[in-house]
C-alpha cells in the first residue's frame, strides 16, 4: 500500500523532471542544427516594427488584484468541498447542511462584489 503510494509519486516526479530535461535536450540538439547569425536587430523587442517606446511595465488596474483575491478565496472554499464530496453518502444530511451553511456565508461575498460593480471588467 505504502510502497505503491511512493512508486506512483516517484513516477510523477520522474515525469516532472523529464519535462524539464527533455526541453533542454531538444534545445541543445536544435543548437547543433540551427544556423547562428546574430545581428543586433534580431534581438530588439518586437513592437510592430517600430523602435520600442517607454516602459513595458506600466501600471495595471486594481481589478486584476480583486479577481486574484476572489480566486484564492473561492478556491479555498472549493478545496473544502472535495473531501466532503468523497464522504458525502456517509456524512448524510448533517454534512450536507454543514456545507450549505458554509457556502451560505461565503456566497454573499460574491453577490456583494457583484453589487459593488467589482466584477465588471471594463
Amino acid at each position: 500500500m505504502v510502497a505503491d503510494y511512493f512508486n506512483n509519486y516517484i513516477t510523477l516526479l520522474a515525469f516532472i523532471l523529464t519535462g524539464m530535461v527533455f526541453l533542454s535536450l531538444v534545445l541543445f540538439l536544435c543548437r547543433l542544427v540551427a544556423p547562428r547569425n546574430p545581428i543586433p536587430d534580431k534581438f530588439t523587442t518586437y513592437e510592430c516594427g517600430m523602435i520600442p517606446m517607454g516602459m513595458y511595465w506600466s501600471h495595471f488596474h486594481v481589478r486584476y488584484y480583486i479577481f486574484a483575491l476572489l480566486f484564492v478565496i473561492f478556491k479555498i472554499g472549493t478545496v473544502f468541498l472535495y473531501p466532503w464530496a468523497v464522504l458525502f453518502r456517509s456524512l448524510g444530511l448533517f454534512g450536507f447542511v454543514a456545507i450549505i451553511i458554509f457556502w451560505a456565508i461565503l456566497f454573499p461575498g460574491l453577490l456583494y462584489a457583484w453589487k459593488k460593480g467589482v466584477l465588471k471588467w471594463v
Binding site: N8, Y46, E47, Y56, F67, A85, V86, L93, L119, V122
Partner: protein, 326 residues
Amino acid sequence: MSLLQTILVIIIELAAALGFIMVTALILIYMLRKVMGHMQARLGPIRVGPHGVLQTVADALKLFGKEDIIPAAADKWTFRIAPAIVFTASLATFSFIPFAPNIVAVNVDISLFFLLAISSLAVLGIVMAGWGSNNKYALLGGLRGVAQMISYEIPLVLSTLGVVMMTGSLNLIDIVEKQKTMYNIVPQFLGFAIFIVAALAKINRTPFDLPEAESELVAGYNTEYSGMRWAFFFLAEFVNIFIISALGTIVFLGGWNGFLISLPPWAWFMIKSYVLIFFVMWVWSTFPRFRADQLMDVGWKILLPLALLNIALTGLVILLREGRIF
C-alpha cells in the same frame, strides 16, 4: 519488484508518454487544419504527402532548424524557464490519465484532484513568459491569460464535484468503473455543460482565446518566442486539448466502457476522446471571440453560481432518493 525493475518500468512509461504526446500533437494539428479548412470551404494542407498528412511533420522539422533567439531586453532565465514550466505541467498532468484499467502511469487514490492541481501550474509559466519577455504585448497577453484562466478554473474544478459525490472516490479508474450501466453525462448534464465551457476557457480556445488574440495583442504571451521554444508552447497547447478531452471522457462519458460493439478498452477511450476533440475544433472554427468583460461575466456570474447549484441539486437528489430526508 526490485529497484531495477521499478526504474525500468518508469523509463518505459516516460518514453511511451513522450512518444504519445508528440504523435498526438502532430495528429491534432493536422486534424485541426483539415477540419477548419473544410468548415471554411478550403482544402487545408494538401501538398506534403498524400492529402498533406506529412505537413505537420515538415513543420516540426522546419521549427527544429530555426535559430534560437532570446531578445536582448528579456530577463534571460525567466524567458528560458517559462516554456519548460508550461510543457512540464502538461506532461505531468498527462501522467494521471488512464487509457484503460491497466494503462496508467500514475494511479493514486486522489488522481482527479491531483490532476486538477498540477494542471493549474501552467498559469505560472504564462506569467513568467509574459513578464520575462519584457514586451508590452507579451505582458498584457500574459496577465489577461492568467485573469481568464483563474476565472474559469473554479467552475472547472466545481463541475466535476457532482460526479465525485455520486462515485464517492477521487480515483479516475473508480470513476470510470462506476459508469458501467449509465454514463455520468445523463444525471450530470449540467456539470458536463459547465465542464466543457470552463475547459475551453482554461485551455484558451475560441471563443475564449483572448490571451492570444492575434488581432489585438500580436500573439499574446508568446510574442517574443520563436523556433523550438515557441514550439513547446504550441505542443503544450495541443497536449492540453487532448488532456481536457480525455478528462471529459473519463469523468462524464464513461471512459473505456463501450456499447453495442466490443472493442479493446483503450480503443473506446480514444474514440470518445477524439469525438470531444472534434467538438472543441468545431467550436473553434465556428464561434467569434468574446469581449474581455463578457468573458469575466460568464465565468463569475453564470458558471460559478451554476456549478454551486449543480452540487446542491446533486446532493439533494441523492439524499432524497436514499430516504435520508423525510
